[in-house]
Every structure is written in structure tokens, then in C-alpha cells.
Symmetry: C2
Subunit: 413 residues, 2 copies
Amino acid sequence: MAKKLATEAYKGTRDFYPKDMAIQRYIFDTWAKTAESFGFERYDASILEPSDLYKSKGAENEEMVNEQTYTFIDRGDREVTLRPEMTPTVARMIAARRRDLNFPVRWYSIPNLFRYERPQRGRLREHWQLNCDMFGIDDIAADVEIISLAYNVLKEFGAEDEDFEIRINSRAWLTEKLKSYDLDENQMKHMIQLIDKKDKIKDFEKESEIITGQKIDFEITEAPKERSIKSIIDALNLIGITNIKFSPTIVRGFNYYTGTVFEIFDTNPKNNRSLIGGGRYDNLTELFGGDAVTGIGFGMGDVTMRDFLETHKLLPKDLHVTAPRLSILPMGKDLNIACEKIAHTFRTTGVTVSVDLSDKKIGKKISSADDAGVQYVLVVGEDELSSQNFTLKELATKEETAGQLDDLIKHLA
Amino acid sequence: MAKKLATEAYKGTRDFYPKDMAIQRYIFDTWAKTAESFGFERYDASILEPSDLYKSKGAENEEMVNEQTYTFIDRGDREVTLRPEMTPTVARMIAARRRDLNFPVRWYSIPNLFRYERPQRGRLREHWQLNCDMFGIDDIAADVEIISLAYNVLKEFGAEDEDFEIRINSRAWLTEKLKSYDLDENQMKHMIQLIDKKDKIKDFEKESEIITGQKIDFEITEAPKERSIKSIIDALNLIGITNIKFSPTIVRGFNYYTGTVFEIFDTNPKNNRSLIGGGRYDNLTELFGGDAVTGIGFGMGDVTMRDFLETHKLLPKDLHVTAPRLSILPMGKDLNIACEKIAHTFRTTGVTVSVDLSDKKIGKKISSADDAGVQYVLVVGEDELSSQNFTLKELATKEETAGQLDDLIKHLA
């Protein structure tokens, strides 16, 4: 006898049994619906990308590329990476067709992404993400719209303004500020990474001195001086979005950001984490040659989204697996085929139907259909088949309707 | 200046631009709708699986595991495989919860699958597949229902009976027949693989003699003698499915099949290929320990499905990207934010809205909205903003409606 195989999923990934899948689909459908309400069009690509896509200067995030990607050599000696994020892919696709596309381009996708990290609350090795991006517009109206879309996704799930907070910063402003210390490119990059982790670091001042060799006076409570950030906040206030504030330590991990960066945080202390992050990246498509196309976008993950919905009790209670409307219950195994034929007849009229092919007794079959959320049952025995007279039972009301199949089909229509 | 990055997708995979994505979604939605009409529930899992899942005896397909999988060692020294098929995954999930599940279990999924092979028509390195499986029922009614579901998927796309043909065989019958030649397990396995490739082999008799050391009288025109296959065909005929025939060379590549095996072929000579394949696998869950749960299912791929729909001209002509219902067109860049505010107001009433943030002239903006399939436009200039009196234009009819925003919202409701 061979060794038994394990039934667990690969570490850091999830099996979606129907109940979890129903929640996943609810999240995806709400994402898609909101993005489409803003005129965003859906796209997709493969999870496999040439590794070069993540190694270029612009897209670089050293920790991620060196330690956290799934990268391997394929059988044809190509280096391949399972996409850890979607932005390089969408920039690649935009660059490939930038002469044919009608800008502004508004695109969204719901890709699964992969990172090799220690699984923990809110972070798994595979997760799905809503990605929304707008290309070709450098006006702040694009920044306003992207943040407004992110805000609307949370509202569509039923969240209140006080459930979350938008924190916004400007990479351009931050870079200007750091430049005043005469930092070289490398010091600059490391300082930005340090600011990104500021909350997790014991002695920020000491660490920043190690990087730069000088004292950096980084006053985090500094007021928003940069013009465009103030304009974006004002415009969002005008639209009615007021749970937004300037936050100088928001930098986002990726080095391709050039302007506005923002994150949306859950305000509940039990789940105090970032739900959505994004920003403006004006030079990313340059990596593929030709003129750059400006871009701005955000991503939000399914794992943190589900945590948010559960923390705030926002998951609909009636969210269940799609049950068929009618279940046909044969009185015995020898009637199974005849019941499959009846099911076929109902289905041609648009009714969703299952047949209980189990060996259970008829009482058990009825309660089993009830548990599954089926609306009607049709018990089929020898008598019903010979007389062609059937009785349809509505489980909730216990109301019975007798007649030939045609009559019952009309009753369900 | 760094080397330019390539804009091509990884070899053998596809980028789904919005137009292709619309076709992909149409195919997925039709799959999901038909599976749910039979009471099948949706599940999913990660594309990453421990490689052991594909190495066990039952699941083994030597060519596939040894030469065609994407397998690599992760950073924690685990051997991981990108799933090449879904059946081992679903068997793993069923085995893990077999004590809690209410059988019969009817599940479907639309996973993406990976195989390292030379890309060619109908075969790519990544493709999506509808997988439908029923567990816990060994009665032939399950076989009948599974084949009927596969048939109904094609009918739901608008195919006629003469567009495709169902070919059915029995692994049990085939094994019985081969056993009469006293073959050992290894010879048996190789003979089944040989029969699977029969059409591609020049001299089948000679090759089979090399494997078995004897003459194998494998008469492929042999009539269906096996009892259950005849019963399944009879039952399908009773339901009204008549484009089915016994075909003794259908074996399916996977060694886990134990009973009924079937494929559905396109009958059009231009696209004469297998669209759907499946069968019964009664011992697969045994690999995980405990009692076996009987299973039967099938898979159909998106690449061959799209080829089929295009060959038979079955793709709907009006299949297009979801355009917003209304587009708001600012007369100048300085009105962009005001237009975002108006868009926000319309969206709160359920209207899908985009704002044209481009630098185009107003005439271009209108024709651009028309090209995209937008139904209404609202041109916004200084006059409209100061008077709060707007004009909504329906593009198809050129009908104009003037009024305040509330009036126009009512008009669209």
C-alpha cells in the first residue's frame, strides 16, 4: 500500500469549498459592479510573467524580488515568475498597444497574486486583488476619481465613513524634502523604504542616520504644504468624501510611484490595517520603450477585505450557495433515469433542477433538499410515472400543486 | 539607459484585452449558468499544489508528470506544481471532508491549468477549464446526468445536435478485454496509452506487439457489448440525446479512470477535435486514506471552446465590453472636478457613468463615447454649471432632454 497523500492545500493557500466560494464571489461581484459603474473595463493576463518584468529599475522592490517571489526556470530555460502584483503586467499591456488605445483608458482586473512569505492574518502566499488603473490623464481629476472609486467600493459593501480612513501623501513632495539633505539615489531609496516601515521600527532617527550619515529632521506631523495634495483633498471634500487626511509617512513599497500615494485603513482597533493602497506612476511604461503613458491606480486584496467585512459585520446573512429551484426525488434507485428525464424537461423551460440520486429514504431526501435551500420538491414514484400526474410541493409554505408536467411547468413560470 | 523590456506575454499564455475578456466572460458565464441549472455548486482552490499529488499511482500520467508539468522547489524546500488538471485537487478536497459532506455532491469550478508543451492550435501552456464532478453515486444515472450536462453546455451556446458527437467507452470493458491476453500491469498501462494515441500511430498492431510480445486482435469496430454502456446510451436517447455512439478507442489519458469514459468531438472537418472529455474514477479518493468516494466528471477548455464557437459562428455579435450608460463631457480641463462631482451624483442613483478627462475637443469626445457604446452624454460647460441647467443627449436617437440634475436622474430611472 502506497503512502497516504495529504489532504491539506499547499501552505499559505486556500481551498474554497462552496460556502467560502459564495463569499468570494460576492466580494468579486461587488468589486466588478463598482468598477463598471465608473466605466472601467475588465482585462486579465496570465499569472506567469518573464522574471525580467520585475527586475527593472522602475518596478524594483528589492525585498520582494529577491526574497518574496515565486521564480523558477522553465523546461525551455526561461526564467519565469508568478506575478506578485498586477501593475507591471498592466503597464506591459498598455505599452504594447499604446498607439491603438483610446485614452483615457480605465481598466480593472481581479488577478490572483503570489508572494512567498510567512502566512499570517491578512497575508497569504496566494491572494486575489481588485486592481483599478487609469492611463493617459495626469490631471488631478484622475487622482480624485481613483480615490473616489476606492471609497465607493467600501461604501458598496455597506461600510460607513467612520469605518475607514483615507491617508494621502505625495511621493514628489517627499522626494523634494529628502533631496534637501543631498542624498544620493541609493540613500534616497533606502530612506523611502525606511519611512514605509516607520511604525515597525524602534528608533527611526538612529536608523535614518545609519543610512544617510546625518541627522534627518523628518517631522511626521508636518502640515500638507504640497499644492496638488491639498487640491485633491479639497476636490474629494466637494464630492462628499471627507474621511481623508494628509499623512506624510504613507510612501507605498513600490519604487515606481512618482506622485500621489494613498492607503485606506480600517479604523476598527481590532483590524487596524491597510485595506487599499495605490498611487500615481508616471514613468512605468517607459521601461518598454517609447513615450511614457501616465498611470494611476490601486489594489485591494480579498483576504483583508473579508476580514474587514467580518469585523464590521457587513457580510450579508443570506449569502449562501446557489441552490437549484427544484429538486426531483425518486422513490427508488430504479426510477433515477426517469427522474433525470423529468429534470431535463423542466430545465428546457429555464428552471434550475437537481435530482437526488442517493439511497436515502424519501423523508431524508426532503429534509436534505430543505437544508440545501431548495424551493420546491417533486417526489416521483411508480404511481406518478404511470399516471403522469405529479405533485409539486413548496417547502416553505408546504403548499402542494398537482397536475401533469406541463401544468407544473406553467405553475413555476 | 537600461535595456527595453519586452511587451509580449510569456510564451503560450494570453493577454486578455477588454474585447477578448468580454468573450472569455461570456464563455465562463454560460458555463456557470448551465452547471448551476443542474444544481452544481461552485468551488475553487489554489493553482499551487504539492507535487506529490500528481506522483501517486492512481493519478499518474507519466508523460504529463515527467515532461509537461511546471514543477519547482519553493524557498522552503517544498516541491510545488502548478496544477495541470483539476481532478486530483477536487478529489483531495472531497477526501478531506468526506465525513461532513452530504452526498451526492455536485461541484463545478473554472480553474486555470498549466502544461509545459509546444503552443499550437487549441493547446496553450495556460488554459481555463470548466470542471464538473459528481461524487458519491455509482448508479448509471450519475453517468447519464454528467453526459447530459456536457451536452447541455454546448446546446446553451446555441450548438445543434449535428455540430458535435459524443463518443463513449468503458475502461472496465477495455481492461477486461486486455486482461484476456494475460498482460501484466505495466503492459496494460502501456497498451491503454497506445490505444489513446491510436489515430496518431502508423502501425498500431506492430507497436502493440512490441509492448505485449504477442498479437493483439483489437477490433475497433466491435459492437458495444458491455451492459452499462448500452444502458447509458439508451437512457440518454430516452432523454432526447441521440448524437452519441460507442467508441472503443476512447480511453482518456489519465490512469485513474475506472468505468465510463467519454469525449465530445466537433463534427466540423475544419475543427475536428475533442472539446470535452471525462469519465468515472471510483478509487481516486482512496489515495488520501479511508473509504473511496465514487466520482464522475468532465472538463472542457476555453481555447477549444472558443475555436468551436468561432468555427460554428456561435459567438453573439453584440458581445462587447460593458460600456457605461452615461458619459459626462467637460468643455475644458478646469471643469473636470465639477464633472466628477456630477458623475458621483448620478452613480448614487445606480447609473453607470464615466467622465471624459482627455484633452480632446468636444466633438471628438462625443464620437469617442459613441464608439465605446455609451448611451447618453452630458456636455458640461461654464454656462451649465452656473445655471445648473443641463442637456442630456441620447446618442442613438439624438433626442435631447433639458433640466436640472434631479430631472435628468428621473429621466434615466
